[in-house]
């Protein structure tokens, strides 16, 4: 008898050091950001408050007291990075979650129902897919958020969803088209089940794993993309710290105070690496064709 599928899954996750590193990074960062979200637990990690000005120790290089150094106003950069984590992790979850929700449902129905529904959904998705997404999203967010600083992050997320959903529509539709021909779906149809019920009970469960893989990979991309928006001031309103914006602020201090930009950027990179390694590990589990040949 062959090994059970869950033990194969675990084998791939633990047998592959890259996946293990990815999952490890994500676990560490999720724990850190969960702790950082509440003031009480936040102080378990960081010694200083993210907004505490201290002009006596401004522009201090990295040291034991200030792991990542301080910025021009003497704020501890490590404290600000920790305080920024919950926001920078939650936003990709929200954006990818909404894109998956919209794109996945549209794609599933389009693929299963076929006909004019499919044609319409696909053409609209193609239209959005053909846009230079980042510039479009930047413009949406800048036009709508020009007057209201507090709403900017909402518009940025909306813009990222607008350009994000078509990918999942295409993905889900392509999968459904081949699923539709499978014997078990034909059998369900033959036994007289309703379309909605077939989609819900027989189609969606088969898509979930593939979509989960691409969503994990997409999380890293969205994190980086959002950091570009934050870099240009289209993220959360100051003084709330944010990694992308900290990089931009730190540019003013170059070449002397390099740590101000460098550490927030480095943290973004490690986090994105976590998503991409974990996502590729998941892909090996769920898409055996590509196993070991990336």
């Amino acid at each position: 008898m062959s090994k059970s599928s869950s033990s194969v899954t675990l084998g791939i996750i633990f047998g592959n050091w890259a996946t293990l590193v990815g999952v490890g990074i994500l676990v560490v960062f999720l724990v850190l950001s969960a702790l950082a979200a509440w003031p009480v637990t936040y102080h378990l990690i960081a010694r200083y408050s993210p907004d505490a000005l201290n002009f006596g120790s401004s522009n201090a290089p990295p040291s034991l007291a200030h792991l990542f150094g301080t910025d021009a106003e003497g704020r501890d950069i490590f404290a600000r990075v920790i305080a920024a984590l919950p926001i920078d992790i939650v936003i990709p979850f929200e954006v990818v979650g909404a894109s998956v929700g919209i794109g996945f449902l549209l794609g599933t129905f389009a693929g299963y129902l076929g006909g004019w529904v499919e044609e319409l959904v696909l053409r609209v998705a193609d239209l959005f897919f053909a846009f230079p997404s980042v510039v479009l999203a930047l413009t949406i967010s800048a036009i709508l958020g020009a007057t209201d600083e507090g709403l900017r992050v909402v518009f940025t997320e909306l813009a990222l969803i607008v350009v994000g959903w078509p990918f999942y529509t295409r993905l889900a539709r392509a999968q459904v088209i081949s699923l539709k021909q499978m014997p078990f779906v034909r059998a369900a149809e033959a036994s007289g089940l309703g379309k909605l019920r077939i989609i819900r009970m027989h189609v969606i469960p088969h898509l979930a794993s593939v979509v989960a893989v691409y969503a994990t990979l997409d999380m890293g991309t969205t994190l980086l993309l959002y950091s570009v928006f934050a870099f240009f001031g289209l993220g959360v309103a100051p003084p709330t710290p944010e990694l992308g914006r900290m990089v931009y602020d730190g540019l003013t201090a170059l070449p002397g105070n390099w740590w101000w930009s460098f550490f927030p950027g480095l943290i973004l990179m490690i986090l994105a690496l976590g998503f991409s390694l974990a996502g590729e590990g998941l892909r090996d589990v769920f898409d055996p064709r590509l196993r070991g040949q990336r």
Binding site: P132, V135, G292
Partner: protein, 355 residues
């Protein structure tokens, strides 16, 4: 489907995409925005300026009248006046577009060449030491946000070793003295004003034969180009590797080997061309990625091109500039996608089916 039908359908679709984008922009600026006149006049403008702009752009008329003037303006190149620079957007684009275009094209050529080579190399011995090294490198590099790569290179090679300059497309003193390229026209004599060429710092210096300016422009472009190459690095490597492995598994490759051909001939003459084909589908995406990357790269290196211009407009909410550049970038990317798709449909008839 015949090639002509395919090209026609593809071109029609591209046209609709551009119209769709114009509709979205119109909706955003003239209907969804809380105060359309402020969008066009700039956030710092006075009440009188806003009123003037509202009148100029017919913003107090019903939406269909606004739409008419909007479309007329878009197609006649009347893209508004930048509140930040106090100049027509279209003339700013004339100045900034060629700089970025030059940078992007150089980065594009090197990126495609490098990634394809690495893809082929890693397919030679999958999971060997070289393959793993390449894999680790690109997985790490593509996880870096673009500004981190730019920052790292800047700190190392500009502020650290002083090998390359830290800002501007060309040394400002040289840049002020280098003449504009004159296009030789047998009837009218020498003609300037060929903006797409004479605003490209490297090409212009090369064409007028100013070697000091040329070497200055090249050394200013090195770090931005390297950053752009590293931005999103690895997509093509992976695709070429997978398709090379597939091709190497084909019967005709086995036949070639069975004939006793040397491995080099098998790979370069028989397998390579077919395995590079799928990479062309990514070219449009790569180009779009470079445009995005240029926003960040040009901001950090102070390289005054279109990306820098867009970034400045974002930071100051200079909406007319943003919209003008968005329209331009959309058209450029969609046209380049169209060219790629037509080329691909020509090379591989199977892809014509989708349209």
């Amino acid at each position: 489907m015949g090639l002509a039908t395919y090209v026609a359908r593809r071109a029609l679709f591209s046209f609709f995409v551009i119209i769709g984008e114009l509709l979205i922009i119109f909706y955003l600026t003239n209907i969804a925005a809380p105060d359309p006149a402020v969008i066009w006049a700039g956030p710092e403008s006075t009440k009188a300026q806003v009123a003037l702009v509202a009148q100029m752009y017919h913003l107090n008329s019903p939406w269909y009248v606004q739409f008419y003037y909007y479309m007329v303006n878009v197609f006649s190149g009347n893209w508004g006046i930048s509140p930040l620079y106090q100049q027509p957007v279209i003339s700013l684009i004339e100045e900034y577009l060629p700089v970025t275009l030059e940078l992007t094209i150089i980065a594009f050529v090197f990126k495609i060449g490098l990634e394809m080579t690495l893809g082929v190399v890693s397919a030679m011995r999958p999971n060997g030491a070289v393959d793993n090294l390449i894999k680790v490198t690109y997985t790490t590099v593509r996880s870096a946000p673009p500004f981190l790569v730019a920052l790292g290179l800047l700190l190392l090679f500009s502020y650290g070793t002083h090998t390359f300059p830290s800002s501007q497309p060309i040394d400002p003193i040289l840049g002020a003295t280098v003449p504009k390229f004159q296009f030789y026209n047998p009837i009218a004599g020498k003609v300037t004003g060929f903006w797409l060429v004479d605003n490209m710092p490297i090409l212009n210096a090369l064409l007028v034969g100013d070697w000091a300016a040329f070497s200055s422009a090249v050394s200013h472009a090195v770090l931005p180009v390297v950053t752009l190459i590293l931005f999103g690095f690895g997509g093509i490597v992976r695709l070429v590797k997978v398709s090379m492995l597939e091709v190497l598994d084909q019967d005709y490759v086995r036949t070639a080997r069975a004939k006793g051909l040397r491995e080099n001939v098998v790979i370069f003459r028989h397998a390579l061309r077919n395995s590079l084909l799928p990479a062309f589908t990514l070219i449009g995406l790569v180009f779009a990625g470079l445009v995005t990357g240029s926003l960040v790269v040009e901001t950090i290196y102070g390289y005054y091109g279109l990306g820098y211009y867009v970034a400045e407009s974002l930071l100051t909410f200079d909406t007319p500039s943003l919209i003008g550049t968005l329209i331009l970038i959309t058209v450029v990317i969609i046209l380049s996608n169209l060219v790629v798709d037509i080329g691909y449909g020509f090379l591989d008839p199977r892809t014509r089916v989708g349209y």
